[in-house]
Amino acid sequence: MLQAVIADSHWAIILILLPLAAAVLCFLYARAANIIGVMTLSALVLSVAALGWQIRETGVYHHAIGGWEAPLGIGLYADGLSLLMLTITAVAGLGISIYATSYFKQQDAARFWPLWLLLLASLNALYLSADIFNLYITLELVGLAAVALAALTGGRDALAGAMRYLLATLLGSLAYLLGVALLYHGFGSVDIAILATQAEPVPVLWVAFGLMGAGLALKMALVPLHFWLPATHASAAAPVSALLSALVIKGAFYILLRLWLEIFAPHSGGAETLLGLLGSAAVIWGSLQALRQTRLKLLIAYSTVAQLGYLFIAFPLSTMAGAAVWSAAGYLALSHALAKAAMFLAAGNLMRFGGHDRIADLDRVVQRLPLTAGAFALAGVSIIGLPPSGGFVGKWLLLEAALTQGRWELVVVIILGSLLAAAYVFKVLGRAFTQAPVCQKARAVPARMEWAALLLACGAILLGFLAPFILPLMDIGDPFSASGVQP
């Protein structure tokens, strides 16, 4: 009976409407915002689980909004890939939310929750949309909400970072929208499934892909369009940095991946080589820059730039080994979300503790904040890609594909990236064990904040063990077969 209810309900729609309603509620009743927020996140996690169960049993979920089928109406669509992204959002989101209840004072919390819940709603709407114009609106929602969150705490650095981010995200959206215009007029629809059948290797397709690719690359800070990210992610409040690096970046990547898989890949004309090149550059450049930093949050931000590169290395490898390589990229995205969120939350704890985030002055953190140090260490394990962790699974699968295809340059990049990651992670941990030149006075860190960071980091490690269960779930609906889909 319960199973029938779960199978027949519209979990996807709940994932969108619930946080929208909760955001309005928090806007009207700010005093109850913390409670409303955590309850909503918990409900989201349960709904994602239910959706996962639903599509595992009954196959891909498809819903024609208003009863109008494409090309006239907008469609909602959930397969394994959407489920993966929704899970990332819900799980990391829950961890960040619990942290946020302790981090923000009442006045900031009243401002944080409506924005955060709207961001969650738009991310969910993004992952469930099957219409490229609808994706534009969700992109704008995500962007504006993220900018507002980045500017939340005020102060010169945060405001400058938010302004840079706003300009970059608006430019990216406009480039994307121009691409949508060209695709609509070139092929007659904005529905992804219809475009998949109609696309032909004509100039319009390439120009549109160039525009949309450039716009989305700007939004997710792919090298060389990454200039805005380090300052913005480093100067925001800790939970905001966590959600920006872990979740918001993934939204733009998901759209690029979906468009690639459905529409552009069969007619790609070698674009995957360029993407692989940019990804490799991101891994090397981002890791080197991370190593140079003296401030912890900037180090972690550059690490995000580097980790994004791994996702793009999957493009050139995918022409021959599609599903395996994309599963690897998906797993990397999942582990990175949890690990990076944990890292930023740990950095937030350190800032609350010592009042600063200078790496050189991390005074005996291991003794004084063992949970936070542990969280950072475990998250570092996943970022480096050491076993057992989710990061290891993802990198191992990528490495395997690169080796079997004889792509030695990519093998070198992946291994070099891991070595550099080990270097900058140990740079931080090394300082955490030693006494600083000047002893630091400390403020207490709430236990909830330490546990949130630690649990997220443990989640990243746990992913290493859960791979056999999670990987098959990603394949529901066969999202990674390049020939395009659908009902």
């Binding site: 208003g66 109008w68 709603a121």
Partner: protein, 325 residues
């Protein structure tokens, strides 16, 4: 196409590009904004020429009108900070240093291939194509309205409009979340103090215009079902009326306390979400309107949305003052 039509189109296009160029490169910020407003009005004319009267209404009201008002208000506040702010608020000196010139030429050179690529992409499109007009026509009768743009906005692609209404709300929440900005003079006090001598003219204008604007808004809302018009156009005209009242010094914030303002702003989004949820439970599909009731439901949605849009746009104009926290 006759020579006259060609000539007219040519003038429009040259005017557009010329105004845009001047607006972007004029030395004085105030004239830049004024040129931008003129650009917006010329765009409205272009939309009429392109047989898009709904867009023309929206562009004139929102794109030229409200955007222009927001920009001018921002410039005024920027200049109001003059005591604390360096010279970058008013006239901007033409960049004379090598670095700036280098950036200008470099970006112009790099953008040339982008321009050519885009032009090539557009010109490669086939000369005639029908788009989705056939599908729209086939289903127009079942949509409850006879204006195809309203049908698309509030029935076929109502989900987009749902999200769009939340974009407005998000912008409002975002602005209010940033707290108050310290101005030396606020818009309201500018209105009251500097216009005390000529207040009779402004007051008379307000007494005449605001009722007319409200009637126009109501008309646009009603007529949107079968002629150009609709919620966004109506809402923005109503917002313009509110902005006019604010500029004339009316103490609207005594009438609309913080909570009432919040409730009005969320009314549109809330009704939209409720209707979406209800249709999901009753009809089995999100935002599905049964054809017999579609017209009424759409009108209801439009009314609430227009109210919300008006309140939100007006609040965006006066936003950042901090009194709505």
């Amino acid at each position: 196409m006759t020579l006259l039509a060609w000539g007219f189109d040519g003038l429009l296009l040259l005017g557009l590009l010329g105004l845009a160029w001047k607006a972007l490169n004029s030395t004085d910020l105030f004239s830049a904004i004024a040129l931008f407003i003129a650009f917006g009005l010329l765009m409205a004319l272009v939309w009429v020429r392109l047989e898009a009267p709904d867009i023309a209404l929206a562009e004139a009201a929102i794109g030229a009108g409200l955007s222009g008002a927001l920009l001018l208000a921002a410039l005024a506040r920027l200049r109001g900070m003059e005591g604390n702010v360096t010279s970058n608020t008013g006239v901007e000196e033409a960049p004379n240093n090598i670095d700036a010139r280098l950036v200008q030429w470099l970006s112009a050179i790099l953008l040339l291939p982008v321009l050519f690529g885009l032009v090539y992409g557009v010109l490669s499109l086939p000369g005639n194509a029908v788009g989705l007009s056939a599908e729209i026509n086939a289903n127009l009768a079942a949509s409850g309205v006879s204006n195809p743009v309203t049908a698309v906005l509030l029935n076929f692609r109502a989900y987009d409009t749902l999200l769009e209404v939340f974009v407005l709300l998000l912008a409002l929440i975002a602005i209010w979340s940033m707290g108050s900005i310290q101005f030396n003079r606020s818009i309201e006090t500018i209105g009251k103090t500097s216009l005390e001598t000529t207040s009779s003219v402004l007051d008379t204008l307000v007494y005449l215009l605001v009722p007319v604007l409200m009637m126009v808004a109501a008309y646009l809302l009603w007529v949107g079902a079968h002629a150009p018009g609709g919620a966004f156009q109506a809402g923005s005209v109503l917002a313009a009326a509110c902005v006019l009242l604010l500029l004339a010094g009316w103490p609207l914030h005594r009438l609309l306390t913080a909570m009432r303002l919040r409730l009005l702003a969320v009314a549109g989004p809330v009704v939209f979400v409720s209707m979406a949820a209800y249709s999901l439970i009753a009809e089995g599909a999100l935002l599905q309107f049964p054809p017999e009731h579609a017209g009424t439901l759409i009108l209801l949605l439009e009314t609430v949305a227009a109210l919300s849009i008006a309140v939100t746009l007006a609040a965006l104009f006066s936003g950042g003052q901090g009194q709505h926290e």
